[in-house]
Amino acid sequence: MSDRKTNSELIEAGLARRYRAERRFKMYGIAATTVAMSFLVIMLVAIFVRGVGAFHQTQISQVVFIDPELAKENDWQGMVKASLRETFPDVQERKDKKLLYGLVSNGAGYDVQNRVREDASLVGQNIQLWLPASDDVDMVMKGSVDRSQPESERRVSDLELAWLDKLAADGAIELQFNTRFFTAGDSREPELAGILGAVKGSFLTLMVCLLLSFPLGVMAAIYLEEFAPKNKWTDIIEVNINNLAAVPSIVFGLLGLAMFLGFFGLPRSASLVGGMVLALMTLPTIIIASRLALRAVPPSIREAALAVGASRLQTVLDHVLPLALPGMLTGAIIGMARALGETAPLLMIGMVAFIVDVPAGIMDPATALPVQIYLWADSPERAFTERTAAAIIVLLVFLVVMNVAAVILRKKFEQRW
């Protein structure tokens, strides 16, 4: 009697402690989940905050006289300089003039040139133009330069700040939507650099990748799922595919370098080679997804087709494949999304060069969006940090769009048998 009481007393004495342990344990779980989620949020917010500024660019309004003499010499930047001298007539010293010219981007002359090329009758006239400011001015306008710091520690001098204040008072300087960021190729000058070249390179690379890996992956999946006998040979293929999926991406880059560039002699930096390497990388993903899609088609479809006299191949191509195709496409989109974010293998095959021109075809030297991000992240200029983050935002938007497309496709064609 007394024994039993002691037992339950013992249990009750421990209960409070055990419940505390229970609550603590659950708290650990919640804390871990929250921490993981907040990492995601912190990272996205940190990138967004840094990058959102790059979608606007400081432009300076100037009246530029299209001097026929200078136009003959192709000195368009000289016209911009002349107009700056006109706006600030009291700047006389050589050193100060140089500073003054630095307010506007080195590439502002191209804007003048393009304008005149469109309309040759402008020669000899005054035209009003919004010209891109230099990156330092851009940073001032975006508030990244601390005016209270001593002059020697700033990248922008007091004199320049005074000019900017005057321009601002005249309404001749403002932040405008940065179209150049979406329409230009790479540049050494942050204010002239854009992502179009990289986006086009990524697009070409992905097209090559898709055209190679999707048919190959689907055909391999059809064979392995529908025709392959269960033997040692097919076992090897399967183990192989699973292991390939786990090979570090940089090793695929080494393969591309040694085989495609070294052995077959394909051109360096071309999106063709990039697409080939990425195709080999995404192949396992597509094979695995396609096999799952084929497996989801019920046997009754195959049996019905075989029963009315279709051959095995006809059964698969005419009846099973159409039903499995949406699932395969979903897998392909997810594979492409992963390929879009890949950087390391592209570095190995030389898609990391500084390329100004937008690539026109798959044999042209190109870079890709993630590689562009890597290159810009290395640049010391403040303005490039901003553009790096902006390029990341663009990349993430592409990825989100692709993944959402995959989800919609899956939802739309999902069938319950």
Binding site: A21, T33, M43, G217, A228, V247, G341, L399
Partner: protein, 312 residues
Amino acid sequence: MYVTPHRRAKIILEKAIIGILVASSMVAIFTTVGIVASVLFESLRFFAEVPLTDFVFGLEWSPQTALRSDQVGSSGSFGAVPLFVGTLLISAIALIVAVPIGLFAAIYLAEYAHVQVRNWVKPLLEMLAGIPTVVYGFFAALVVAPWLRGTGAGLGVDISSESALAAGLVMGIMIIPFISSLSDDVITAVPQAMREGSLGLGATKSETIRKVLLPAALPGIMGSILLAASRAIGETMIVVMAAGMSANLTLNPLETVTAVTVQIVALLTGDQEFDSAKTLAAFALGLALFVTTLVLNIIAHHIVRKYREQYE
């Protein structure tokens, strides 16, 4: 009258098509053979110039070849130990971050969370694995590293701006979903009867998890950790952007270390002729990387499969 000739053509055509299907399924094998061949072949040429023992046991890594070929020490030194140690240090930091977070998140999602919470949180966690590594690299190099350095300076600790800590922390974030997803799967796969047996004896939920579910799921969890480790070792962009170039042999996470993948990128993205020992060294490093990750993966898959068989 119509069937026979048609049939014959069809049979030939079908044979041909199936032949194409077989060929495309062989591409996976060709890829593996291609990887092994290209990496191994170039590595063998490297080891013809630099002895294998120097590479595996050498403590000094300075692949700079001299400008003139007759200069002393023009071959550089290719001791890869500092790189291996650097990679292991960064991966270890990543695992120290990712294993507790991933494991507890998996336990919470599998056993405690409401279905709706789980349906929302799980895909969000998996988003961490879908973000391109170059984005993590940017985050590590331009956000985390300066922040660590600033915090360190505030505390009077000198933290390098290319510390192993920054790279490791961010890599840890990246591999959280590798651990949480697979661990979640194996914990959910533990038979319901084992849960009910333990709860029926009066154990609390956490006691059931710690004393029954985790031991039962341990092989699967180990497998997930090995897969995450292999991912961390082979990861390139985070370390290229956030870790350093100088090959310091140190275990101090606050100092600059370099990693195998960083050196591969460094050796192959500069301008140099294809046949120098420098370029070939990259392939030797690639071989080491390939073999290590392959072994880790095979062990991991083996453990996970063994464990699945137990309950099926």
